[in-house]
Amino acid sequence: MAALTLLLRTLARVVRRELRSFLSVGLNNFFLLAALMAYSAIVNGMAPWDSLPFFLLLSVLMLFPMSSDPLAKIPPSRLELWPFSTRERIALRVISFAVSPILWIALALLVLSRRFALALLFLAVALPIQVVAALAARAARSLPTIQPLRHIPRLPGRTGGLIRHNLRQLASALDFYAALIISVSAALYRWFDPKANSVGFAPLAMLIALVLSTPAQSSFGLESDSGLTRYALLPLKGWRVLLAKDAAFFIVTLTMVLPLWDIRAIGAAATFTFVAITLGRYPSLVLQPPQLPWRFASGNFRFSVAQLVLGAAIGFAQIRTTPSLLIATFVAWLISLAAGARYWDKLHHPGISASRR
């Protein structure tokens, strides 16, 4: 029994760590926007209903990678090899659900809201999502050919393979799926709502660009040490490496905005994206905020605020004025690419002492 208790305590620690990894959403641009909307509603004496769909979208997406089965955290072979009796194994299986993150969240909801129905509703939503996620993961393991990311094609050109790699990395952050849901909703609104107002297309496009903007602060956040070594070995100038990252970013943003089929919307999204990448260059290369796959990207607070404020201000100004602001942000992006490339080349130049790296 002592061994079981110890194991459960370890599992609880692992679950706590996992839950903490989801806190990355706190420095995500989409979350910051929703929080800002909620705050301004409360300050003005209104209920923060407008921000609720955003918070719901964030929460539902985070439920997919959150494993409700804590025993899944133990490598199956290790679990099999431990000398537990059948009775102990059954006990472990049953008691392990006590440290399930889903149960903890439901309990927290119960304590905070004092509404049993709300906690029950959460479980009713969370558990099917967990089942779907577990089945999808199992199917992907047993039938590798159905993995959707596999179907991202190689793009032409010298760095086409790198762009494919970068596209796959972008698609392994939850930001991508939040933007995808908004993009699909926006397209449905655009094409199937008879009352669809074209004035709303550009702000919708900017919202998509905003949801995708945090990963611009951690372009290399998902690279393993092994992957970074390969980058250092490739005979590529820094501008090519960074351009391959930026190209993936533009491809994703434009693909999601294109269904709106509105030139002003595409212009606004492009402007926002140029601003987001330009401002994200420094944290991406120098600050390197940590990033985990299947989590929302996390940025640096100051740079996130700058991305939100400047991106939105310049984006809205661009809608009302001329393409000159789009051109201006494009030039700013080019300058950031040149400066970032210079930094990259210095960093990977063996003539520079390691103490300066």
């Binding site: 590798p144 050919t145 993995q147 990311l149 596999r150 190689r154 050109g157 010298r158 760095t159 086409g160 393979g161 790198l162 494919r164 790699h165 796959r168 990395q169 392994s172 690279e223 393993s224 040490d225 092994s226 992957g227 070594t229 390969r230 250092a232 070995l233 490739l234 005979p235 590529l236 100038k237 990977h348 130049h349 063996p350 003539g351 520079i352 002492s353 390691a354 790296r357």
Partner: protein, 246 residues
């Protein structure tokens, strides 16, 4: 081919590479030494991954500090951490690498197919690296090192952690490319393979070269030279491993 003069590399108070000078012509050179001797650090310096604190390195008369990109174009490397992307499959790694080194897609595909066949990776070429075994990852990294037909190949422990049949295949492959004029520089702990493959053997300890077969020819077997230079760590009997009742 590989020229390095008075290379020194420090990490805080630790001297990882201490005033190493080597002149390696075409052929196969093996670098031996116990764990922590400085083999991987020296390899990283020779392959532009680390900058030396002092000294000069040139590959095929190109100074790595003056033109690292030119050096990266002519070398193939299997680094210590293998340098692979988890989000790509084995075949996709080769598809990524070929065009970067100036190969056309057709040439990349044709060379990839042959390399995958030689290394026994054809059946698993569509496996994502995150699902590959250590041996498969190692072979993928080796294929990446060879794909662009480099003038010099640097391999960090290519024979460790792979099955004996594949080790023999890799040994034959390296012997073949060396015969065609490629310089092969590798580190290893497997003395049997080093003995059968390398034209020259260099041993380092605490960052310094302590034996070079080119400078000090020794008629003793390699194993004897190795054990005379590197003292085994003191043995201690872990007695509780044999007393299940205690």
């Amino acid at each position: 081919m590989i020229h390095c003069a008075n290379i020194t590399k420090r990490f805080a108070s630790l001297i990882a590479v201490n005033d190493v000078s080597l002149e390696i012509p075409k052929g196969i050179c093996a670098l031996l030494g116990p764990n922590g001797a400085g083999k991987s650090t020296l390899l990283k310096i020779l392959t532009t991954l680390l900058s030396p604190d002092a000294g000069q390195v040139s590959i095929d008369n190109i100074d790595i500090q003056k033109d690292p990109l030119a050096v990266r174009r002519i070398i193939g490397v299997m680094p210590e951490d293998l340098g692979l992307f988890d989000s790509l499959s084995i075949a996709e790694h080769l598809e990524l690498s070929g065009p970067i080194y100036g190969l056309s897609m057709a040439e990349t595909r044709s060379r990839s197919e042959q390399l995958l066949r030689v290394l026994g990776l054809t059946r698993s070429q569509d496996t994502f690296l995150s699902s590959c075994s250590h041996g498969m990852r190692k072979k993928t990294s080796l294929a990446l090192a060879l794909l662009h037909n480099p003038r010099a190949v640097f391999l960090d422990e290519p024979f460790e952690g792979i099955d004996p049949t594949t080790a023999d295949t890799i040994r034959d492959l390296l012997a073949g490319i060396a015969r065609r004029g490629v310089t092969v520089f590798f580190t290893s702990h497997i003395l049997r393979i080093v003995r059968s493959l390398a034209d020259r053997t260099v041993m380092i300890r605490s960052g310094s070269v302590v034996w070079d077969s080119a400078a000090t020819p020794d008629l003793r077997p390699l194993e004897d030279v190795y054990s005379s230079l590197f003292e085994p760590s003191p043995t201690e009997d872990v007695d509780w491993l044999r007393s299940p009742s205690s």
